[in-house]
């Protein structure tokens, strides 16, 4: 992956920059020793690493404002960082940048059950937002699988989803307001405890802008009352096509499950060997979960099972207890770990129209043979967000490149059938150069024009989202 050459003029400013940052921040908040900055050299896309020039760990919005104002004045690029769990390289530094980490900003600022929101500093982890309200039986709905570690800042930057977004939506549908610092240090308040924008929906465009428009320091998040209960049903089918039709029929029947998860045979076998959840040995497996009181769950599961039976399932296992539910989820939740036991893997994130599921799975199988790399599929079937896991050997020369080429072909296929490159992980550097496969030059230009407005010098999170060739002129300006 190509990154811009570090600018020697900026590198030469390091001493002066550190001096100015230290004047504005506590000493422990400025990390400039080369050994220590190495801790920030990568996020969860670990194949790419580059220590930043400096890392800063502010505690307040005012400190973030001071940092950005200084960097803006000195023309130093800034890479915002939540918890560093991006799978797309969204927080990958450049050698001439300042990493701005929000890890110390973890306070809950306001909890309001009557109006159903919390206001938090954005370094707080996703799961601990729910943690702050669960004693009153409330929760924060978006649940990316990294939710134990990932920060709200990163969730907003990537518009993160999760397994339950079929019912509850993704981050943008649960974000009510932000305090954000622009690159020139200006602090803006957008949205709040009320609904919808008065003028243009700036909040909507900030969410998912991958830290390129501003640094979000505080967020107002919608919280919901927990359902009375939830239970899944597991179904096995002897073809991907049939499983795909079953998903479509469930949705058409008016049942809206909270999650519909899909696993194919390679993934089922790997997780079975690893977690021994007792899954059937079949081509495709669905886990469908519904919520409500016991009687409500029974009413919905009865309808779902009736639909499933029409598709001649090889296995149909309805959970009747918390223990059985846990066993059904066990394999799904260990899927990534199980695949990781076999080999290194790359996790893709393209989304396709649900109707294209059988075709896309068949094509991925064919490509897997062509490339000679195994692939397992585990994903959110209700919304078409696929997660093909391509297995490769990082120690084998050329295997990573082969895997990346295979991955790119899968993502191009997603676009070809009417889908997109990324459903919830973000573009980062990983899918940056594929953007031209989904967007025409003008489509990219109008997106870049939005960045021109928020960050005229193009200093925030450089070299992400847009192909370098497309953004060259702007970054050099």
């Amino acid at each position: 992956m190509e990154m811009p050459t570090p600018n020697p003029v900026i590198l030469a400013k390091k001493a002066r920059l550190v001096e100015r940052l230290l004047a504005a921040l506590p000493e422990t908040a400025v990390i400039h020793d080369e050994a220590e900055t190495r801790a920030y050299e990568c996020d969860a896309l670990t194949a790419y690493r580059c220590p930043p020039m400096v890392a800063v760990l502010p505690s307040t919005t005012q400190e973030v404002s001071d940092i950005l104002r200084i960097c803006n004045e000195m023309g130093v690029p800034v890479v915002p960082r939540g918890a560093g769990t991006s799978l797309a390289g969204g927080a990958l530094p450049t050698a001439d940048c300042v990493i701005l980490g929000v890890a110390r900003m973890t306070e809950v600022l306001e909890t309001d059950y009557a109006n159903r929101f919390v206001r938090v500093q954005t370094g707080r982890t996703n799961l601990s937002v729910t943690g702050a309200v669960q004693e009153n039986d409330f929760f924060y709905a978006p649940d990316p699988s990294s939710q134990l570690a990932c920060a709200i800042a990163g969730n907003i930057a990537m518009n993160s989803g999760g397994a339950h977004c079929l019912k509850y939506g993704v981050t943008t549908n649960n974000l009510m307001g932000v305090t954000m610092v622009l690159m020139d240090g200006t602090v803006v308040e957008i949205g709040g405890a009320h609904l919808d924008a008065g003028g243009l929906d700036l909040l909507g465009v900030i969410c998912g802008s991958e830290g390129q428009l501003g640094v979000v320091t505080e967020a107002t998040l919608r919280i919901l009352r927990k359902p009375e209960g939830a239970r899944p049903v597991l179904m096995g089918f002897d073809s991907n096509e049939v499983a795909g039709e079953c998903v479509s029929d469930i949705i058409k029947a008016g049942v809206l499950p909270v999650a519909i998860e899909f696993m194919d045979r390679p993934c089922i076998r790997a997780t079975e060997a690893f977690a021994k959840a007792g899954y059937p040995d079949c081509e495709a497996l669905l886990i469908v979960e519904v919520e409500g009181s016991d009687a409500e769950i029974d009413e919905q599961l009865e309808k779902i099972i009736a639909i499933a039976r029409k598709h001649n399932p090889v296995e149909l296992r309805e959970s009747k207890s918390a223990d059985e539910s846990a066993r059904i989820w066990l394999g799904r939740k260990s899927a990534f770990g199980a695949m990781g036991q076999i080999n290194d893997y790359m996790c893709l994130d393209g989304t396709i129209p649900v109707s294209q599921l059988p075709y896309v799975l068949r094509r991925i199988g064919e490509m897997s043979k062509q490339y000679g790399l195994d692939v397992g599929n585990v994903f959110h079937a209700g919304d078409g967000n696929m997660h093909p896991l391509i297995l490769f050997d990082a120690n084998k020369p050329g295997d990573l490149e082969l895997c990346e080429a295979f991955g790119a072909d899968i993502l191009k296929l997603c676009v070809e059938v009417g889908g997109c490159l990324t459903g919830e992980h973000g573009v980062g550097i990983e899918k940056r150069d594929l953007m031209v496969d989904q967007f025409a030059p003008d489509d990219l230009d109008i997106q870049m024009a939005v960045k021109d407005v928020f960050d005229p010098q193009w200093l925030l999170n450089p070299a992400k989202v847009f192909p370098l060739a497309s953004s060259d002129a702007r970054r050099a300006a």
Binding site: R116, V170, L195, R225, G254, N385, I446, V453
Partner: protein, 369 residues
Amino acid sequence: MLTPRTEAELAEMVVGANRPLRIMGGGTRSVLPDQDSAGLSSTGLDGITLYEPGSLTLVAQAGTPLDKIEAALAAEKQRLAFEPMDHRALLGTTGTPTIGGVFAANVSGPRRIQVGAARDFLLGVRFVDGMGRILKNGGRVMKNVTGYDLVKLMAGSRGQLGVISEVAFKVLPLPEMTVTLALPDLDDAAAVHAMAQALGSPFEVSGAAHWPGQGTFLRIEGFAGSVAYRAEKLRGMLGGEIEQSTQRWTEIRDVAPFHGAEGDIWRLSVKPSDAPGIVSRAGAEAVLYDWGGGLVWLRMAPGTDLRARIAPFAGHATLLRADAATLARLPIEQPEAPALAALSAGLRAKFDPRGIFAAGGVPAQVAAS
């Protein structure tokens, strides 16, 4: 009135425009009276491009009449879950609402509190910017974080950034059953409190409105057994009577109590628990609370500056209906903080450098900026 029949023709018309254009769909949601700017309507762009009930997605040209969309959905037992209101009776407009207009104005009804706003259902747009470029953003899949989310930006942009030519959106199944729990005789504060209790319960309330003089209403939708269970649970918490009719929700959605009545109409978006206090400062002639109190409709004496009466408050107040003199004097939309106004102006300048879209349902001071 310009009415392009194709997207390419639309782009040519924008390129050829030498003065500001009033961008509209069916013109049913316009606040400002007709001005001398030329109109450009999307009504010639008509037709459902793709509908996959099993994927919960529909793609349509922007000028497709809303009732055509709703009929296609009803045939598959689906609907626009965000429940867009019909503005005609309230604003005294005529014409046919279009699907593009619904999204361009981000029009949502009572169910917004449960399922989200129009903007939350919009998956993709095609539009023509002020330079006549045909652009697209988003797509037709439900999860998509590929590049910046200009879909949200276009939703509610009211023709200021471009002319939407096609929309792709998510739809949801129709419920098997709907009932309403009607609570009588509550004052505003008690009503907002009761609605907060209901919305903070696990019983998935899909509408919470307070209509002074009529009652406080909570809607429950879903499968028959589930609806009966949840309605009974809520009645146990709050009392009240269970109604079967759904007519009341159409009336609340379209602000029926204000139809045919004189006076200015304001729409207020606030934190629900703030609403009763704000209303007591407003001195309105009539009030209707929706969204659990988060949306308040006020009918005011003509020419009243509501914002001045209730200041300071957090949220936004929109002036929807008033005479020309009042519309010339008071901003239609809540004035933005200077830093945000600068960002919005910057975006308008990028999307429409020639100021072609600076007319129509856009507040005068915005159009002038």
